[in-house]
Structures are given as structure tokens and as C-alpha cells.
Symmetry: C2
Subunit: 351 residues, 2 copies
């Protein structure tokens, strides 16, 4: 079946060594430099062959690095195989009529130089039509995190002008956007983060009304009461655990909690207990988990909102970019120590 024009290339990969327990370590992953790939789709394939350009480091990946008995909207990673995640890639060959050689796409791909994305995964790919913004933005503000922020805030939280919005992990890939959407919606917006530098970003770059360093607050309940003396209408939940417990004490009547993630819990053998759920009854609070996969139909509408806002400078975005697949394991691990400032991106190739 092999033909003479097939090109065999080195294909550096980041492999999951074994299922992870506790905090992920760089050594849970392995850079494999010995893999090769034939730069040709298998005959009859209806998938695509891509060259990966940018990879996205996302907290949810940690939840896939462990064994799971429970079904998830994402599949779990397999030890011995490359990490998978969102990225920006260029189509080298396509067996799907919707894509052609040279197209730029974003979606689920592998942590490697080249990936074959087979037909069952191809629905996660979006063709990139607007290239007058940084391509890496399609791992963040214009990709999965951006659509997550958009759907989570506008669709799940149903915000109204003047409402009081709190965002944890607020300088992250999703949080920084939720805060800016909330400001554009006329809300009062407070964010928390884990360093002074991030707090400054929230206030001075993203235009949050207030921001605080949660690590300097011995009592999160008291901190929230300081910034929300009349309580919180909308909580965009990225953290979980003690933060959620403190927020529950400060929700307003008919408040909404959009549960996007719980990064403080991903590395725990047993998640922390949340004690203040009775607030949900008295205050008629809605807690809504959501996943971006169910909002892909909003992507075009989302772009129509966000692209002009970027170009007009009404929305800004901060990325933390590292170079090379070899930097990917430490970049991923860094999400859980809060080392990254803004959206964590890995450059695989500048094309």
C-alpha cells in the first residue's frame, strides 16, 4: 500500500506515562523524540492530517489524566499515548470535504508535531476564517476558553445590568473574558487571583471594579462580604472547595452559579467537603454545571461579538506563551501552582 511519495517525519510527542494521582508532575509526562509519522492519510481515511502549531494548556486536562469509572463529556487520556487537547493546526491532507490542504483549524488535537484526527473527532474542528488576529488566540479568546466564557456567562448566568458578579481564577483563560463580558453588560465585577501581579492585571488591564489575592485572605467569607456587602448575583466558578463554600454564604436571592471548573479540587484524592449548600434553599440559588461542547452552535454568533470587540480594543487578552513541545509538561503543571499569567499557550511550530 505504501507509495513512493510518502514522507516519513520525526513526530515529537508528549506522552502520558501513567495515570496521575495528586498534583501532576512533569515526570507524569514524557517527551518522546523517537516517534515518526508517515505524512499521508491512510487510504480511504475520512479524517485529516494536521501539523500542530499552538497547543492549549487547560485545567480540565488534569481530570483526564486519572482513571475514571464515571462517564464524562470528554474521554479520559490513555497512558502510553500522547496527551490530547485543544490546539491550532494546519491541514496537510484532508479526507473530509469540509477541509482542504492549507486550511487553519482549531479543535481537539494531540500534543505532538503532527496528528491524524480521525473522522469521529473531526466534528470538534473549526476552520479559522479570520487570520488578522494572533493565531494563538484560537487556543484561547477565540477558541474553547472564549466560547466557554461566552456561553457560561451569557447563556448559563443570564446576567442583567447592574448585577454583582464574582469570578474566581479570574485572570485565567476563561476568567479574564468573563469579567470583561460582565463589564460590557453593565455589571459590578470582582475577581480573585493568586498573586499581586494578577490582581493588578484584573484591575488595570481587564477593567474589573475590584480584585483581591485570595492567598492573602485568611477568611474568604469576610473578603467576599467586603467586596459584596449586598451579596453576589452571579458567581462564575472556576475553583471549588473552600471558595465555593464561602461564596454560598454570600449569594443573593435567586443568584446563579455557573460551574465551569473546580481547579482547587482536581489534584485531591478526595475532594473537599462543601458545607454551606443549605444556602441554596433559602436563597433559591441555581448551581449549573456546563460544558462548552453543547454550545458549539453559538460559535459563529460568538465570533461576531468578540472579533470586533478585539479589533476595537474593547476586549483584551493576556497570554502566557512558551516555546516548544518540550515546554508543554511544565506549562501544564504550572496551571496548578498558578505560575501562568493569563492563557497558557505552547508554540509547537510557527508554521
Amino acid at each position: 500500500m505504501a507509495s513512493g511519495d510518502e514522507q516519513v517525519m520525526r513526530n515529537k510527542q508528549v506522552i502520558l506515562r501513567a495515570y496521575v494521582t495528586g498534583f501532576p508532575k512533569e515526570s507524569d509526562m514524557q517527551l518522546r523524540t523517537t516517534s515518526t509519522i508517515t505524512l499521508k492519510l491512510p487510504q480511504g481515511s475520512t479524517g485529516v492530517l494536521v501539523k500542530n502549531l499552538y497547543l492549549s494548556c487547560d485545567p480540565y486536562t488534569r481530570t483526564q489524566m486519572q482513571h475514571s469509572d464515571t462517564p464524562s463529556s470528554f474521554r479520559t487520556l490513555t497512558p502510553g499515548s500522547p496527551i490530547t487537547g485543544f490546539g491550532v493546526a494546519k491541514i496537510l491532507e484532508s479526507g473530509d470535504a469540509r477541509f482542504k490542504q492549507g486550511d487553519l483549524v482549531w479543535g481537539l488535537t494531540g500534543w505532538e508535531e503532527y496528528s491524524v484526527i480521525n473522522a469521529t473527532k473531526i466534528e470538534s474542528l473549526f476552520k479559522i476564517k479570520n487570520t488578522d488576529v494572533p493565531l494563538s488566540y484560537y487556543t484561547g479568546i477565540l477558541g474553547m476558553p472564549g466560547l466557554t466564557a461566552y456561553a457560561g456567562f451569557y447563556e448559563v448566568c443570564s446576567p442583567k445590568k447592574g448585577e454583582r458578579v464574582y469570578i474566581s481564577a479570574a485572570s485565567g483563560a476563561v476568567g479574564q473574558l468573563v469579567g470583561q463580558f460582565a463589564k460590557l453588560s453593565g455589571c459590578y465585577v470582582v475577581g480573585s487571583a493568586g498573586t499581586k501581579e494578577k490582581v493588578d492585571l484584573l484591575k488595570n488591564k481587564f477593567g474589573f471594579d475590584e480584585a483581591f489575592n485570595y492567598k492573602e485572605e485568611p477568611n474568604l467569607d469576610a473578603a467576599l462580604k467586603r467586596y459584596f456587602p449586598e451579596g453576589i448575583d452571579i458567581y462564575f466558578e472556576n475553583v471549588g472547595g473552600k471558595m465555593l463554600d464561602a461564596v454560598l454564604l454570600n449569594m443573593r436571592f435567586r443568584g446563579r452559579i455557573a460551574v465551569c471548573g473546580m481547579i482547587s479540587q482536581y489534584n485531591l484524592e478526595k475532594p473537599e467537603g462543601v458545607h454551606n449548600l443549605m444556602s441554596v434553599i433559602y436563597k433559591e440559588v441555581r448551581i449549573q454545571g456546563f460544558g462548552v461542547l453543547n454550545y458549539y452552535h453559538l460559535y459563529e454568533k460568538f465570533l461576531e461579538t468578540v472579533l470586533p470587540a478585539i479589533k476595537e480594543g474593547k476586549i483584551t487578552y493576556v497570554e502566557d506563551v512558551v516555546e516548544g513541545l518540550e515546554s508543554a509538561p511544565s506549562a501544564l503543571v504550572g496551571l496548578f501552582t498558578g505560575r501562568n499569567i493569563g492563557k497558557q499557550v505552547v508554540v509547537v511550530s510557527q508554521e
Copy 2:
């Protein structure tokens, strides 16, 4: 101001002695037989004077017996004053054009023989128009618990035919109705309760598909997996704590949890921790607290559904009736040991 026709009557009352901590005891309340009342509204009053006939024992009352700094949709009880709660009463005198002497009403009243319900509280009163059912039903199936079950199931849970419904505290005032509504909606319905007698009621009288005694289940997660091998679409939450934690492990994608109450938590100094909230993300679960006060506008529609169903025998209701105000403290305390079988009612007077 006093005039000759004012009648001074003994007014037996059940008084809250002091704020309660931990499990409520009968001695937290006191039967006061020395109070009197002038059977005449104060001049100019726009309230009503009522004779109380039936009182409702409701778990939520426990949450009002303690000091609270957080606002609630119900007010907190005051030590030295009568317990307040839902009941059925007869109007003796009315300063409000909507009610006249002799009208039967249900709504918020006091644990005493006679009550003056002032104008600020009068919005909670409903005139009883249908008296061809037991009057005590207006403390239960036709009153607050009935409307709670109706609104909580139909409005909060958005049930679809064939969905899998789980109800905890299922033989209680609300649970027994939710289960019957769910069966009428074509759902698969499982309930839990704390005695064999109650489990039998669920299966044989209320028509649940399955029922189990949670006290005999060493592993609630395993019990739920036995009855819901494909998971739970709708959980009607009356219990909280460990039960909620087990349910979270068994919710289906886009499942809904209507949080009506958390009776297992009301007597704890510190509520139990709930550990499995991350399921909310993966399964996109909605947890919605709700209170009946916001669904009063549905009451007439509710009656139109439930009254015929009662008369045609399609819905049945079990009450646990005790006689006399002096029995009220033990009846209320009994809710928390599960002594009552069905809706706990106290007869104050047969008119």
C-alpha cells in the same frame, strides 16, 4: 377604646423558649395555658382574627428556631413568642375586604387557639373554597407542601416521560406527592424512607416503582446504582448530606436536582461536607433551590389539577394526625426522628 361586647378568651399557645441548637427537644417549646386574647380586632386593623383549626408540622420550622444572621425568605422565630407555621383557620373577624367572618383559610398562622394575622402577613392566606375534602388537607396536599411538590416537580425539574426520578424522605408531606406526580408523568420512580412501614407505603399505596429503607443500606451509592443502573435524571432533594453526595455520583447527563429541603442537616452545628460536586461539571447537572412562596401564583392551577385527582382516587395522601396543641411539640420533634408516617398534622379544634 374597649367596648362592652369584647370577649376575653383563654388562648393556649406553644411558645419557643429559646433558640435551639442541635436536635430540637420538646422542652425547647412550652405550652402556655395562661394567655388570654380579646376576641376583637384592634380598632382600624386591616388584619384578621382567626380561630386555628389545624396546624402543620414542617421540617423548615427547625431552621427558624435558631438565631440567624443571614436573610431568609421566611422570618426567624422569636423566643418567648408562639411558634408560627402553616395552618387552617376560621375567620372570626376581618379588617380586609377579601375575607369575611366564617371564611375558612389556610396560610401562616400561630401555634395557639386564636391568632391575629396582621396586614403584612395576610398575603399568605388563601380562602378555602372546596370543603368536600378533609379540611386538614389544606395543611398538606392542598396547602404549602402540595404546592411545593407541584412547583418543585413540574416547574423546577421539567420532567419528561420515561425519565428516572429519585425522591428522598419520600413518604413525607411533599415526597409522597412528588412520587405520585412523577408516576402520572410516566416516569420511573424510586423513593427512600427510614422504616419498613414507610417503604411499604411507597410501593403499595403511592405506586412508586421501587422503594428502599436508607437505614438498611450501608452504601448509599451502591443502593442507588441498584435501583438506577443507568443513573438518575431527576432528584427531588429533601435530605442533604450523605444522601446528596451519593446521588451526585449517580446523576445522568443534564440531570436536575430540585432542592426542597435538607432535613438531615437542620440539627447539625456544622452541616456535613458534600464532596462530589465535581459531578456537576462533567454531567452538566443543575442544582436548583426553590421556595414555595414564589409559586403562589400557580395555586389555582394546582388546585384544578389536584382536586379532581383526589376525588377520582388518582392521588392519595397519608396524614399523621395528633390531637391538641399540647401534642404539637412532640409532633414537631418527631419529624426529625422520622416518627411520623405521612404528613404531620395537629388538630387544634374541630371548629
